[in-house]
Amino acid sequence: MSDTHQQSIGYVRDSMLPQATPPASETGAVKWVRQNLFLNIPNSILTLVAIFVLYKLLAGFLPWFLNGVWDAPSIRACREVLDGDAGGCFAVLTERWNQLLFGFKYPSELYWRPTLAFVLLFVAIAPVLFRKVFPAQMLIFTALYPFIAYFLIWGGSILIPIFALLGFVAGYLVYSRFVTQSFAMGFFGGIVAAFVFWWITGLLPIEGILALEPVASRDMGGFMLNLILGTVCVSLSIPFGIALALGRQSDMPIIKWICVVFIEFIRGVPLITLLFVANVVLAYFLPPGTNFDLILRVIIMITMFASAYIAEVIRGGLAALPRGQYEGAESLGLDYAQSMRLIILPQALKISIPGIVNVAVGLFKDTTLVSVISMFDLVGMIRGPILASTEWNGVYWELLGFAALLFFVVCYGISQYSQWLERQLQTDHR
């Protein structure tokens, strides 16, 4: 402050007054409690009732959980330790941990293989789920992952997955060679080339060359089986669903009707029925002596089932797009494949995300239905070998609660991811 003003200004405040605090009843926790829990009499009554119910639930659950026995050889030993107190017998989870995860026939010295495949799964799906975070080159690993996972889980000669992969490559080469002449020619040529390649290599005596110890499909089980079925079927049913939805919209009547009949038929049949067909009836149609892998049959059925649903969800998304989007794409000279891939599907799929996730979550939980056709997935293991054993007969809550928890973690994760993805893709009205 300069001297000239010293006379004219009598008083200048040189520090801020401390702020007065608002009344205690209007801030923080007190205000929140008052506004949300005790605003008026009915509100207060509801709050008290809710608190009482919560108390009752926790009073039942917490002692049972905290008192739980984690280390005992059988349910009787559990009861002896508890000695009449309330408490869960979680020892079954620790004792049968490997059976719950891998089933009871998978060789225990090979558990590292599915575990490794499980860890690699995250590496494989990361670039698909979080495109902006991970480099696009990681998608190469994603493409190779199915073959690596097959080799790890099923074992056998490394040439099997390599030949399978090369079959796809051969199909693609033939496709790209002929697609310039006509799409249909490239498409069917590619399929034929791949099958011919697989058929020829199938005749080669490759057994035991660079092999891991083979594990048969019927030895798969536990949560591993649910994860295999869930991952494979979800990732297959989305592309098939897209193809069916586009086929249903097609101008070509034969393609259209094939898709309509397929979708309507599959949606009209319970999944259990399809699984029984996979298990029993399909064998009658196949030539005698063919050994058509059971897991493969189940995968085909669940994929068909889920893709019919996903097709209808995506059809809804396609129908929601204004006609102008198709016209805009067409007027720029984009061909059908380009306008679908670049303009229509990105928007239609974005609209369809909640529906697709709904189907995916439902599908993942439906993989437990395979326990009905005597496959020992997580629920099959619990209902079968574990609960039927003399040691653990009667431990329902702990086992089924654990199964519920595993499924909940996965499904909640999927749901959270999809909500995040929807926010990421939100480009209008920002």
Partner: protein, 255 residues
Amino acid sequence: MAEAAQMQVSDEVAVQIENMNKWYGTFHVLRDIDLTVYRGERIVIAGPSGSGKSTLIRCINALEEHQKGRITVDGTLLSSDLKNIDKIRSEVGMVFQHFNLFPHLTILENCTLAPIWVRKTPKREAEETAMHFLEKVKIPEQADKYPGQLSGGQQQRVAIARSLCMRPRIMLFDEPTSALDPEMIKEVLDTMVELAEEGMTMLCVTHEMGFAQAVANRVIFMDAGQIVEQNEPKEFFNNPKHERTKLFLSQILGH
């Protein structure tokens, strides 16, 4: 300006429509349309709603299929051959009433998409072209935004830039200002006038008669699926021949 514009018209044919008919089901929308558009011509198509104006220009890039007659665009006969249709569409730009921008792509991506995928232009080059045309329509600063963040007038100018990025030889405008607020119409019309001055061949369905008077070298009047009258704008507005045209003009210019 009209005289200057006149001189750019060559006698090279851009679009030739011969005896074209179209039905929606049994409804006869377009009847015996004969129209020759020369390179550099700017044609305004006017007429009451439902007269088939939009359908006519949508037939030119095969967004609508015609059932009878021949349409030749830039020497290519429009048939059901998809390769021909895609070729014509990449030569003919179209601007729609509702813009039809792609909402999931940025403005820049909207403009580079077709050059990259249809013309196989390298990405960098396509982006340079896109920025050039975005500057031309005076919104280069919006390049990284999404269509939903722009005003209607801006969106329509982006739509024009998007078409221009394909370096079309003919531009079709389907009521480009009908969905816009009045104060935004001018910015779009200015862009179109500028385009016309550069000698672009344009077919424009519009109710903006001021635009027709300023830049068109031919006005076509359609009613009930037929071309009723066509003439130079001065003659058309001052001295309409047909009763139906007189009635139409008195209605839209009367107030």
